[in-house]
Assembly symmetry: C2
Homo-oligomer: 340 residues x 2
């Protein structure tokens, strides 16, 4: 493996000069610059990242901490994030986390051990305390987190998200506009300080706004975003417990798909007997039978902004910022007017 010293020897210059050339420092003549560059080619020199990181006390890799890499919405984000990060010359370290793991603690450990220069969080909670946030010493962006950070000052974090509460309200509004008043909700959890809680809150707010009483009986918790079986079973229990509802609001597309299957298996047709609305806007959801009515999150734009934001924060440390995207309703075949 040829190193910087070999280049220096080969060119008859000092090591420091080679380093200057390699790092585009100004103080080097055109002649020597070319000479060094030529040697670099000839000797197939490849810089040693470890050595560079050691003296710079930093690296070029950004961590991506994902709660559930198999979540298809995240998959879309990861794709664009990966592409942008690579194109800008950084690299991505992927860490899958289970829901029970503490993302902030893991992030802190990772950055210390591995000199990561930034963290992208996908999924997780939102009510971090200032003390918890203080664990993280590098720029970070919370993606798909809501902007409603309970205890935190906006200057304390950066985020890219949709307005989860609003999206949930929009979903319920759409159902109410079709005449539905007995609307069940299919959610991950009610009070886990994640987007689930916010969407649940949006659901309740929308009901209240329309003068519809909230019925705890119509709440089905799946405990998961992606385990279809668990979602199917939660929906089944809901149906068996109280099948008076005429519509379901599912907080994610996959949940809606499993719910439709459960409804069907219980003899309820969608949308004739029960309408279904979800949030996500996966491409897949336009190709199921029936197609899904869903609030579309602009995944590609969001992912790109995540990447751009973390890089900006790394290259020009400055103000934290929060971005909120609008969701738009994509009509599908899973809803219809009540008694219509």
């Amino acid at each position: 493996m040829t190193n910087i010293k070999d280049i220096a020897l080969h060119c008859g210059v000092a090591i420091s000069t080679v380093s200057r050339v390699l790092n585009d420092h100004p103080d080097v003549s055109q002649d020597t610059r070319e000479k060094v560059l030529r040697a670099v080619k000839e000797l197939h020199y490849i810089p040693n990242t470890s050595a560079r990181n050691l003296v710079r006390t930093s690296s070029d890799t950004i961590a991506l901490l994902v709660k559930g890499v198999n979540n298809p919405f995240f998959a879309r984000l990861i794709k664009v994030i990966g592409r942008e990060i690579a194109q800008r010359g950084y690299s991505l370290e992927l860490h899958h986390m289970d829901t029970s793991e503490d993302e902030l603690r893991i992030g802190a450990q990772l950055t210390n051990e591995r000199k990561l220069i930034g963290i992208l969080f996908l999924g997780g909670r939102f009510n971090y305390s200032p003390e918890e946030m203080a664990l993280i010493h590098v720029p970070s962006v919370f993606c798909t987190y809501t902007n409603t950070f309970g205890n935190l000052n906006p200057s304390a974090y950066s985020s890219v998200a949709i307005d989860d509460k609003q999206a949930a309200q929009d979903a319920v509004d759409a159902l109410v506009a079709l005449g539905h008043r007995k609307i069940a909700i299919l959610t991950d959890n009610k009070d886990d300080r994640s987007i689930s809680e916010l969407r649940f809150q949006g659901y309740k707010d929308a009901l209240a706004m329309h003068g519809i009483p909230f019925e705890p009986n119509l709440v089905a918790c799946t405990g998961t975003f992606s385990d279809m079986r668990a979602i199917y079973e939660a929906t089944s229990r809901l149906i068996e417990r109280d099948s008076s509802f005429t519509a379901i609001f599912a907080i994610a597309d996959l949940m809606a798909i499993a719910a439709i299957k459960a409804l069907s298996d219980h003899g309820k047709r969608v949308p004739e007997d029960c309408s279904v609305v979800a949030i996500d806007g996966l491409e897949l959801s336009s190709y199921t039978l029936p197609t899904l009515t869903t609030l579309v999150q602009p995944a590609e734009e969001m992912g790109l902004l995540c990447a751009k934001t973390i890089i900006e924060l790394i290259e020009h440390p400055g103000q934290n910022r929060q971005y909120t995207f609008e969701t738009v309703l994509r009509p599908g075949g899973s809803v219809c007017r009540l008694n219509g």
Copy 2:
């Protein structure tokens, strides 16, 4: 940031002793070992990976090169791979590639620049030449590649895959057993030296085995594994061109789902008017309407084996090896007996 020197000072021992403790070397007394360990805790010492990598002239990160991170089958693999790699103390660098990119060349570049210690390839071609393979100087595992590496000696590569040809044959066999003889195929490409080609080959072999003539007219190419719209359109064109078929074999679950939608939009009911069989076995496919009949790839086991294999190859360089998994048919509602 406290370092190994601080620990040494604090304990009144030499740096080398601390290093020995940290690396579980035998030559150190119980007393000093405990003393050092205590100091490590107290001072919140965290080893510097760059420095360690520098002297060891290697890193601890394995690259994961994925053709299409948004492929849901890959997502399942990535999840278990990520978990295993992390648990074994390594870390994962993720690289998304588009189909047009040359995975081997990118892998070679990456390993040189960044001292990666291994590469996991997900997706891609299979007919690498010995010259191309020679670009890669670190242990690597080709996952989801078929084992049928055209030009390569088995000692030249490691792989974890299903028998793609066999799975395709099984799919067709299942349809034939139900009385179908006009069987269309929905594939990515026919001759791109990827799994698509193998599954296509398996399809043709099965037809031949049953004495069914191969009809080029019944081949629909999507050019993609995951773009639902393109798949839908390819299927639509197939139907409009020649709707004499009574069954479709789709080489991936997502393709089958889009195809069912296209069939439905053209007034063909599944399975009454057309049966559909696919390969993948996504959990999702058991929750669509109708549910999918599909050959299940054991994704979690395959992912785990990928991780274990690459680690084994790294820790104990040795023989390359190829693993083949069996697929099993998961019956669903997307097929029925012809005229039954």
